[in-house]
């Protein structure tokens, strides 16, 4: 799984600010309910778990089901505590994980 991930974090934040984080992973989120051109069910291929850690601490996570649209978009907020790394991890139903890191600068 090597999909393109888009992450949107405000450029600068002051300590204590609540910042909105938007994430999007380019992924088909194949439900496993659709039939292909050959009449057979297209096997399920979905992101099941999304986790965001901030300097090593889990601040937000999500369990996703086939009802989430293709190219799963997840947005949430976090309190800007200190400058550091936000690590985003998407895991699919085959157990493969894609990780993307973004930097947050806190003044």
């Amino acid at each position: 799984m090597a999909a393109r991930a888009l992450i949107n974090i405000p450029k600068g934040a002051r300590k204590g600010d609540v910042v909105e984080i938007k994430t999007l992973l380019s992924h088909p989120m194949e439900t496993g309910f659709r039939t292909g051109v050959d009449g057979r069910l297209v096997p399920r291929d979905i992101i099941e778990k999304f986790v965001c850690t901030y300097n090593g601490e889990v601040v937000f996570s999500a369990d996703l089901h086939p009802a989430i649209a293709a190219n799963p978009f997840v947005s949430f907020t976090t309190v800007a505590m200190e400058s550091g790394a936000l690590v985003f991890a998407w895991t699919d139903n085959h157990g493969e994980t894609q990780v993307q890191t973004a930097r947050i600068d806190v003044a």
């Binding site: 309910f33 999500a62 089901h65 009802a67 989430i68 947005s75």
Partner: protein, 154 residues
Amino acid sequence: MNETPIPSLTRRGALAAAAGALSLTLVRPARATPEKMKAVIAAFTGGKPVTEGRVKFDITLLVENGNSVPMSVLVESPMSAQDHVTRIGVFNEKNPLPDVAIFHLTPRCGRAQVASRMRLNDTQMITAIAEMSDGTFWSATSEVIVTLPACVEE
């Protein structure tokens, strides 16, 4: 003109038979039902009562394309260590599965606000339920009308 039509060969009979055969061949995939949604919600809450309120569930009321429908949930909560939202679950009635997503929040979120995009297979009720750190559950429900459903198309 005294002939009596043989019942099995009338136009009406033939049409009814054809319709019957068609309905047999159109096997639809399994669908969630309001009962299944209730069962999944009961599993989420552990059978505890759910009160309507404190949750603001934002989703378009009329959706042209069910393949990607933006939705967001905002819960009234101070998000302090003592009093915060721990989970937000989103459930539907008529997609193949009743679950949509479960978001796990922490006081580090600062605000109990999440957004995503979901698929809608039909016009139906969508429910968002928030679990608070004190163990109570709060909900908001919205009916969404869908003109082009998702999930089963080619």
